[in-house]
Symmetry: C2
Subunit: 322 residues, 2 copies
């Protein structure tokens, strides 16, 4: 079924780009990376029952399949360009494919991202997207440049991804996008990769990562790669009113620290630049909150409002057990 | 489990390349396409029970996951460079991962291909590989350049892929790689992408495709994209002695025409260049056999030894029904 389904998807998602010499329809795509740019490539897979609940709307799946990958490009400071889609479907269900393609295209279009290749096959529902973007090689945001004294900042708010998933589990995948709960589930269904923030952070952030596994886990990756530690203040976490209203302040804080699926950027920046960076991000409508500091040593510690260290590995923080 | 498994795989498959600025371990890979080269990208997915039989050795799966993708690069005349692997596994089985990685590396190493990214996740056994290669933009082999009068040629021999699969179904996936049957099943387990042939055909072939769906289906893709037809002579098909000895001449011919999984190249070339092309391929140890000719019109016809047109869509040719 490879040809008809990919043709159907490419009909929805067609995006003319001069750097696509040959798109879908040959053995491979033929592409031209612009002079002076490096290529940034990431792949992510989503499997039914593991990364999304059965019954999730196909359009939301198409959006999210691309969003989680674009979030990796954002974390590198890259400008998106091309994607390839490997779609595995139990049956050749045209309505599913059309919905999936429409959701994918709704996110691809504003970023002028072209679908240049793909593969559809029979099997348990899953999809794997490979995205390509560009960045000047000396401006790529990596995980290894955090230095003692840098501020740790996050874009937007954290914890809504985990809160939204908890709502979907409690109220079912059909729950409406209304009110506080609607705000949380919308975040799970259609996460918005922080591509503009990634571009604004080029040459500014010393390290950057997107929050997919949870703030502590992902900041931990920065610390390990940079050979440093970090200290966070729990009461500085940007937690939305909706999240605190549905789950209470304490659970909201746990979700913010250890929940995944937020797709915000966590980055480090010298204190002298922090104010300017906040200003640059504010101009594109993106908030950024300082939540702690890079320190000598290793690992990530979290202080409560009274200055006490939280025991974030205790049984109460069961997200860490995974 | 993403980090530990991908680290484990990258340990097996590490390949130093100056064009990999940043490999596994950040949000995305950072890569440099050489000046004057276009990027060639393909993705292929394999799902247990659909593309391979349950019980297939992990090392054979690792080899094949890469081989089917390199075959797409070969069909474009591209030189392989980088791959990303999305691996979905029911359990975090280290022995499986090590075997898979060893098979992947055994094929990657001689081609100096670097694994630059990946994703491992829980779920039904499946894997999706994205490969990247280079070709000067004006030398890429495409499907759309076949012209009336061109000869149709194939590398190596056809039909062993389908023959080997039939043997695995009959004798079980544990059957030894010995004798005629062994030759056929080895072809299914460890197909050899014709990368050298693809490079030799740059600037020579007018159209090219790899045989994954079956000779007639894949030559049909060339005809559709080029706006031409093709006429083949069944008795000129290169069929191995092993295939004919196990299945008889008639079934061997059917496998050669309509079986998939051969991963040879089918290409078209002006008659004036055919002899020189055969010589170029012979120098790298690759045979190439003229099997027919491009004609005005559409579709692919096949003549038997007596000059009669075969009814290749009749019930006897059940591979076409799929």
């Amino acid at each position: 079924m490879e040809f008809s389904l990919i043709d159907r998807i490419s009909g929805f998602t067609y995006q003319r780009r001069d750097d696509v010499l040959l798109g879908i329809g040959d053995d491979a795509a033929l592409l031209q990376v612009p002079a002076g740019q490096s290529l940034v490539v990431a792949v992510d897979t989503m499997v039914e029952g593991v990364h999304f609940l059965p019954g999730t709307a196909p359009a939301d799946l198409g959006w999210k399949a691309l969003a989680v990958n674009l979030s990796d490009l954002a974390a590198m400071g890259a400008m998106p360009a091309w994607a390839l889609l490997a779609l595995t479907l139990p049956t050749g269900d045209a309505a599913f494919v059309d919905g999936f393609a429409a959701g994918f295209a709704a996110l691809a279009r504003p970023h002028r991202l072209a679908l240049v290749g793909g593969d559809t096959t029979g099997g348990p529902l899953a999809f794997s997207v490979t995205v390509h973007g560009f960045v000047p090689p000396d401006q790529a945001l990596t995980r290894d440049g955090a230095r003692e004294g840098d501020l740790v900042m996050v874009t937007g708010s954290v914890g809504e991804g985990a809160g939204g998933l908890a709502c979907l589990r409690k109220y079912g995948v059909q729950v409406q996008d209304e009110g506080d709960i609607g705000q949380l589930v919308a975040r799970v269904r259609r996460p918005r990769p922080q591509l503009g923030a990634g571009l604004a952070l080029r040459g500014q952030a010393t390290a950057c990562i997107d929050i997919s596994d949870g703030l502590l886990a992902d900041l931990g990756h920065i610390c390990r790669r940079s050979g440093v530690g970090a200290e966070l203040d729990a009461d500085r976490l940007p937690l939305s009113d909706a999240l605190q209203s549905v789950f209470g302040a304490e659970q909201a804080c746990r979700f913010g620290l250890s929940g995944g699926d937020d797709y915000e950027l966590c980055f480090t920046v010298p204190e002298s630049r922090a104010h300017a960076v906040q200003g640059d991000l504010a101009r594109i409508g993106c908030s950024a909150t300082p939540i702690g500091r890079i320190v000598r040593g290793e690992g990530v510690g979290v202080r409560d409002a009274g200055g006490q260290w939280l025991d974030i590995e205790s049984a109460g923080w069961d997200h860490f057990a995974a």
